[in-house]
Symmetry: C2
Subunit: 357 residues, 2 copies
């Protein structure tokens, strides 16, 4: 079952995601029409090359890219307005829109969608045709969606270089509560503890704290909408988290051997959880080791290091740079396959780098 | 007040931190003697060049690098064994050891210490002379510590390229509960939710989840000891966190406008908290922007990109690589000063990279 995207496509909502979808479709030479309740937003999307503001008579596909809370009504309206079009959406919560669409006349022509992509930026100017490359794209049919409609939406995801994953709406919403909404709230709550802390306490902050709190820095508007739309699965996980937190508090109160017994269960569950996160390419996490190299903070140093890593013939799995407190130096952590790490250290030392494992 | 490290120095406990301190002092040509209750551990530390296992008569300085729970008794014993030596330690919790030392005869010669450094690895073979470069090193005197003793411990930290920060024991323990122990537990609890989740829910995982749960993957033994030693400040923060969590649950129950009002306070506090974390070089966070570049996953590609970034003349603030689900491609996020980002994008596009902001 293939569903070629021949167009025209109508994108409704020219924010970051809508504009990015439109830009990517334009690169594939698909005719894209744009609509937004704010005319200046459409103008900006047209200006960046995302399509035309001209009305469209009979689109092959309508993509609803408005905020999650507005998505169900907008999708229903567009199913009525374009009786021959397939309609999809990109909202981060799927039960509300899928259940509204399933209850209406256009149920067979609706297929929900959710590209797992975004940035801290927003609006049409932040849009990018490459936003979806390599990202999962949940495809969530109604009970009545035709195979042709499903194939078309999967083809859109695939042609934008995303990885379509077909899921039921309830499974999707539970999954995003687990891998996105609850981690976001946890990050926010941890960062919130810093807001009232004495300044000198924060001087001891290291890379671990920065990792845990990084996503808490993103904007609040979209998150309010997401959390409202997915309150039930988020709530269930947070209640479970509170139960675990209470067990940690009990363990801290007990102290000594009892603490060790209770707390090690919690710590072990955490380690086990991290190992279940899919690694690169959707495959199991590659056994890797970090090679550490202090790098002076001036232009060209890192490129010289990377060139020397390249010259060593070792393929890099991941790289991060930890900027150091109080000193003009960064520490590059080069993740490589564990059986290549010693070779890389030796090769870098030979080239004058103070590399170590 | 300067306190030259002339040696000999006795390091007691040849784990990661003890061995790393010893290696760094050896590079400065200081005589280092090593002791550990396990002779094979001392042998390994000697083998990697951290010093000698020969006994020492009258050390200038004794560095206690045993697990936190054993640190107070060990420090007291060593103050008695070497009546002319300054004694310091490296435990991640400071009140227990400082209060024991303050209550004893050697109070004037004891100065607590805590280098904010470590890796997921442990043991003498993981030791590195460069482990402390650019890291904060808390220096925690007793009420009786002499200026000479304090100066000596600060000089050790500085000569190991760390940044000494003088603090009181209670302030230190509250600070590390905030910036290290509680974030670790939060990361563990979030990762723990993944342990029992359906496999297909995890397929939607993205970089945000990986950031939040990264530190949960480290070993449990040391953490049990740390949490037991610092239970009170950790408990206080976790109780505060539970209060915030309950407010989030209330907000989720309320829905709609009420949810928005209550939740936006929580989200805003989180954003404010992230902004208080000191940036690189201890300075205020530099206003930066991310330039994004898809990079094929094969040796040499990243080094070619870094060379082209270097050629653009733009100084890199940070770099991360997000490996993509289901595709042999990574997305490099190059953080640069916000007023240099457009120049970098243009420069990279000119060199054939599909760079965008």
């Amino acid at each position: 079952m293939t569903g070629a995207v021949t167009g025209p496509v109508l994108v409704v909502g020219c924010g970051l995601i809508g504009t990015s979808v439109a830009l990517a479709l334009r690169e594939l030479d698909v005719a894209v029409h744009l609509r937004d309740r704010e005319s200046t937003v459409v103008e900006m999307a047209v200006a960046v090359g995302a399509g035309t503001a001209e009305p469209v008579e009979a689109p092959q596909l309508v993509i609803v890219a408005v905020p999650p809370s507005a998505t169900p009504d907008t999708a229903a309206m567009l199913l009525a307005e374009f009786p021959d079009a397939v309609v999809t959406d990109v909202a981060s919560v799927k039960q509300p829109v899928v259940s509204v669409a399933a209850a209406g006349d256009g149920s067979a022509r609706f297929v929900g969608g959710h590209p797992m992509a975004g940035t801290e930026r927003s609006g049409p100017v932040a849009g990018s045709a490459r936003l979806f490359e390599g990202r999962p794209w949940a495809v969530v049919p109604t009970p009545d969606s035709t195979p042709e409609a499903i194939a078309l939406v999967e083809e859109v995801a695939a042609s934008l270089q995303a990885v379509p994953l077909r899921m039921a709406a309830d499974a999707h919403d539970e999954a995003v509560a687990l891998v996105s909404h609850v981690p976001h709230l946890v990050s926010v709550l941890t960062a919130g503890l810093l807001a009232s802390a004495p300044r000198d306490h924060l001087e001891l902050a290291g890379p671990g704290l920065r990792d845990v709190t990084r996503i808490a820095g993103s904007g609040t508007g979209m998150w309010l909408d997401i959390l409202d739309s997915n309150a039930r699965p988020v709530r269930e996980l947070l209640v479970s988290l509170r139960g675990d937190l209470d067990r940690v508090l009990d363990a801290l109160d007990s102290g000594g051997e009892t603490l060790a017994g209770r707390m090690s269960d919690v710590l072990d569950a955490g380690r086990a959880g991290t190992r279940r996160i899919p690694g690169k390419h959707g495959a199991t996490r590659i056994e890797s080791a970090a090679v550490l190299v202090p790098v002076e903070d001036r232009p060209g140093e890192l490129s010289r290091l990377m060139a020397d890593v390249g010259a060593s013939g070792v393929n890099l799995e991941d790289l991060s740079i930890d900027h150091e407190y109080g000193r003009p130096v960064g520490l590059a952590a080069i993740e490589v396959a564990v059986d290549r790490a010693d070779h890389l250290v030796a090769s870098l030392i030979e080239r004058g780098w103070p590399a170590y494992r």
